[in-house]
Amino acid sequence: MNPSRRTGLRAAGSVGLYAALAGIGLFEGRPVSAQTFNATLFQARNLTELLRMLGATSAADSKEILITTPDIAENGAVVPVAIRSQLPRTEQISLLVEKNPDPLVASYQLLEGVEPDLNMRVKMSQTSDVIALVKADGRFHLARKEVKVTIGGCGG
């Protein structure tokens, strides 16, 4: 497929989505809504590119971020992941799976009152590092943990 046409279509799609969200009032009255769905982030194909796009190339390893996952996941389609940050003023938590086709899996913005302790289930295409990228007090920190995957959960 023609790559430039693809990018064009995707860009058009994301603009439409934003308009739809704004239309239903999801973004109303929210000063912190600078972070909106950014399709290009989710299309980043490798980790370095992604960290650059997030402005997190200087992210430091931190022991204050705890990732809880099974060491071996039998089914890559459903891998439970818990991320807990003990860093003060954690404002954003992103979950990356390094070897997935799209490494960025999810990004959470913590507003008032939510504890920096999130649970979710993710897909993993193969054995890979799971990376938690935490933005706390304006700085990025990260932690990683390897999860072995027996059966991948992205393809067929």
Partner: protein, 102 residues
Amino acid sequence: MADPTKIRGTLKDGVAEVRVLMAHEMESGQRRDAAGKLVPAWHITEVVAALNGKPVLKALWGPGISKNPFLGFRIRGAKAGDTITISWIDNRGDKRSDEVKV
């Protein structure tokens, strides 16, 4: 319209433990159908959790979240009778909002 979102909110020492189960296909865009064509991605892109109408958590999701997504988190300072609302929207523009009392 998709099936209702299942939400549980339990209160313990002023902290509401919230567990959410959304009904969604979460197609990754990597899979091929029987004819060998790529199945287009179809996934939730944004989830907003609100306590008494005030947003507390905003999530951006890619296709890497599992089918029928689960999300667990805790809200400080919640009281019995507070309302937790979970809204989501997917990349086809479908949306759904459900609420539950703590």
